[in-house]
C-alpha cells in the first residue's frame, strides 16, 4: 500500500456555532487526480485553507510527504512541495508573466536575501521561468504584463506559478473558473498531462472536467465528506445523487 501524499485525519473547524469542517479524513495518493466536489457552502474553501496553512484546524491532523504539517506555516509547506493556485486569480499584476514565474522559481532556489545581484540577469531563474511558461502554453506572452493577459491566460499563469517549484502536490482551486468551453478543454489537457509525476487535489464545479480528469472523487456536504470513490462509484452513490448531483447525473 503506497503511502498517501497528503492525508487528513478527523479535521474539525468551527466558526462560532457553525461546523465548517466536520471530522474530515481524506487522502491524495501519488500520481492521482483527486477531485473535491460539493455544493456551495459545503466547506471546500475552509478545507483548502486548512490544508495550505492559512487557517488552523480546531482538531485533527494533516500529513504531507510523510510529515505532520498541522502546525507548519504556509510557506514551509510550500517548501515541502505543496503548491496551490487560487480560486480568484491571484497573480502579481504589475509584473510580467515571466517575472511572475521567475519569482515562483526563485522561491525554490535557495534564499532570497541577496541585495546586489540583478535577478533579471540570473539565467537559471529566467530559463526555468520560460520553460514553465511554455509548458502551460504562454511562451509567447512572457513579456506581457500580467494585468494585460486575458482571464484564461491569467489562470494558465496561476498554474505555471504553482508548477514552478516542481511540487509534489498541486492544490488547484477551481482552475476552470470563468473559462469558456475551448479554454476549459485546453486546461483539462494541460492538467491531464501533468498528472503522472505528481498528485493533484482539484476543487471544481465544472462536472465535465471533473469526470474527465479525476481518478477519485470526494464529495463534501455541510462540511462532511459523505463519499469517496471512483467517478463511476460516485455517480451511482445514492446520498451523493440526492445531495448534489440531483437530476444532472447522467
Amino acid at each position: 500500500m503506497v503511502e498517501p501524499l497528503l492525508s487528513t485525519h478527523g479535521l474539525i473547524k468551527r466558526f462560532g456555532g457553525l461546523l465548517a469542517t466536520d471530522n474530515v479524513s481524506i487522502e491524495v495518493r501519488p500520481g492521482e487526480i483527486h477531485a473535491l466536489i460539493g455544493p456551495n457552502g459545503a466547506g471546500k474553501t475552509t478545507l483548502v485553507a486548512q490544508l495550505t496553512g492559512m487557517l488552523a484546524p480546531d482538531s485533527g491532523t494533516i500529513h504531507f510527504a510523510g510529515r505532520d504539517v498541522t502546525r507548519l506555516p504556509t510557506h514551509a509547506r510550500v517548501r515541502l512541495g505543496l503548491a496551490r493556485s487560487f480560486q480568484i486569480t491571484s497573480v502579481l499584476r504589475e509584473f510580467t508573466a515571466l517575472d511572475n514565474v521567475a519569482l515562483a522559481v526563485q522561491a525554490h532556489r535557495g534564499h532570497s536575501f541577496r541585495f546586489l545581484a540583478d535577478a533579471r540577469a540570473d539565467r537559471g531563474l529566467r530559463d526555468a521561468a520560460r520553460q514553465g511558461l511554455e509548458a502551460v502554453g504562454l511562451g509567447g506572452r512572457a513579456d506581457t504584463l500580467a494585468s494585460a493577459l486575458s482571464h484564461g491566460e491569467q489562470r494558465q499563469l496561476e498554474i505555471a506559478m504553482a508548477l514552478a517549484g516542481d511540487p509534489r502536490l498541486l492544490l488547484l482551486d477551481e482552475p476552470m473558473a470563468g473559462m469558456g468551453a475551448e479554454e476549459s478543454q485546453r486546461m483539462v489537457e494541460l492538467l491531464r498531462g501533468l498528472k503522472a509525476k505528481r498528485g493533484m487535489l482539484l476543487i471544481e464545479h465544472d462536472m465535465d472536467a471533473v469526470f474527465a480528469l479525476a481518478d477519485r472523487i470526494t464529495v463534501l456536504v455541510y462540511g462532511r465528506a459523505i463519499a469517496t470513490g471512483t467517478p463511476a462509484e460516485i455517480r451511482a452513490h445514492p446520498e451523493v445523487r440526492q445531495a448534489y448531483l440531483g437530476e444532472e447525473a447522467a
Binding site: 510557506h75 503548491a83 491571484s90 499584476r93 509584473f95 545581484a117 535577478a119 540570473d122 504584463l145
Partner: protein
C-alpha cells in the same frame, strides 16, 4: 545607459546630478553661500527619503515613524559627542546600528499587523522615541543640544562646508546606487511582489514577514545615516528632528517625487524645499504678511496631490519603460 539618457527622465536626472555635483563650485562662483546650506539639507533629506522609499515605495508599507530613525542616528552622534567621543569612526557606525536595532524592534512588533494598525503603531512608537529624547534633560531636553562635529582623524574636516557637502553628495550617490541594485535584486523582487500581493507570495513559499523585517532594518539604517549627517550639518540635535510632522514630511516627499522609483525621492526633496521657499514670497505678493501662513495653501495642496497626483513628479517626466 546611454539609451536611458535619451529619455526626458534620463536627461533631467543626469543634469540634476551634474548640478548637484558642481554645487559648491557654482555657489562660490555666484557668491550665494546660503544656497550651499540649502543644497546640503536637500541632499540629506534626499537620503532620508530614499531610505523611506525602500520600505514605502518598494515595500508598500506605510511607515509613519521614519523620523525616529533620523532622530536616533542624530542623537547617537550627539550623545557620543557630548560624552567625550568625538571620533566619527566610532560615532557613525554606532548611530547606524542603533537606528537599525530600533527598526528591528519596531518591525518585530508591528509587521505582524496590517493596514491601519501598522500605520498607527509605527506612529506611536516614533512618538515614544520623541518623548524619550525630549525628557533627556542632560542632553538638552526640548531645546536640543549643540554639539561638535564628528572628527575623522584629519581625513576630512566637516566644518568646511564644501567638504561636508561633497561627503553628503557622495553618500547620496552611494545610497542611490544601493537602491538601484536593491530594487531588481532577488530581495527586491520578493519585497515588491509582497507589495503587490502578499498572500500570493506566501503561497509561493516566501516567509514574507522575514523579508519585510529585513527591509525595514535596511531602511532604518539608511535613515540613521541621514540623521547622522543632519546632526553634523547644523552641529545640533533636537527632538524636533523626530517629531511625527517630520515623518509626515518624509512621506510627502516620497509621494511627491514618485513612489517606488529610484530618483523620485530626490525630486520630491527638491520640490518640497522649493515649495516651501516659494509659497512664502508668492503669498506675500498676493497680500503682504500672508507668506507666514504658507501652510494654509500647502495643506490643501497635499490633499489635491493625494487625490489626483499620486504618480508624483516622476510620472510627469514621461512614461516608464516597464521594468
Amino acid at each position: 545607459m546611454t539609451g536611458a539618457l535619451r529619455t526626458p527622465r534620463g536627461l533631467a536626472t543626469a543634469l540634476l546630478l551634474v548640478l548637484f555635483a558642481a554645487l559648491p563650485l557654482l555657489t562660490q562662483a555666484f557668491d550665494q553661500r546660503y544656497l550651499l546650506s540649502i543644497g546640503t539639507r536637500i541632499v540629506i533629506w534626499s537620503i532620508a527619503a530614499v531610505s523611506l522609499n525602500m520600505i514605502l515605495g518598494y515595500g508598500g508599507l506605510v511607515s509613519f515613524g521614519h523620523a525616529a530613525f533620523f532622530g536616533i542616528g542624530g542623537y547617537a552622534v550627539g550623545i557620543l559627542s557630548a560624552s567625550g567621543v568625538p571620533d566619527g569612526w566610532v560615532q557613525w557606525p554606532v548611530a547606524i546600528l542603533a537606528a537599525a536595532a530600533w527598526a528591528a524592534l519596531i518591525g518585530a512588533l508591528s509587521l505582524r499587523t496590517r493596514g491601519v494598525y501598522f500605520i498607527m503603531i509605527t506612529l506611536a512608537f516614533a512618538q515614544l522615541v520623541y518623548y524619550v529624547a525630549a525628557s533627556l534633560e542632560v542632553y538638552g531636553g526640548d531645546d536640543g543640544l549643540n554639539i561638535g562635529r564628528s572628527r575623522f582623524s584629519g581625513l576630512i574636516d566637516l566644518r568646511d562646508k564644501a567638504s561636508f557637502y561633497w561627503l553628503c553628495f557622495a553618500l547620496l550617490v552611494a545610497t542611490l546606487w544601493f537602491c538601484s541594485r536593491f530594487a531588481v535584486s532577488r530581495f527586491g523582487f520578493v519585497l515588491r511582489g509582497a507589495r503587490s500581493n502578499d498572500q500570493r507570495m506566501t503561497a509561493l513559499g516566501f516567509p514574507v514577514f522575514q523579508y519585510r523585517l529585513a527591509a525595514l532594518v535596511i531602511s532604518g539604517a539608511f535613515g540613521g545615516l541621514a540623521g547622522v549627517l543632519l546632526a553634523n550639518e547644523g552641529a545640533y540635535v533636537s527632538p524636533a528632528m523626530m517629531s511625527w510632522v517630520k515623518s509626515g514630511d518624509l512621506i510627502v516627499i516620497v509621494v511627491l517625487g514618485g513612489m517606488g522609483t529610484l530618483f523620485g525621492p530626490v525630486y520630491g526633496a527638491i520640490a518640497f524645499f522649493v515649495l516651501e521657499e516659494s509659497l512664502k514670497p508668492l503669498m506675500d505678493l498676493v497680500h503682504k504678511g500672508w507668506g507666514e501662513y504658507w501652510q494654509i495653501v500647502f495643506g490643501p495642496m497635499l490633499v489635491l496631490v493625494a487625490l489626483y497626483a499620486k504618480g508624483g513628479i516622476d510620472s510627469l517626466l514621461g512614461r516608464r519603460r516597464h521594468g
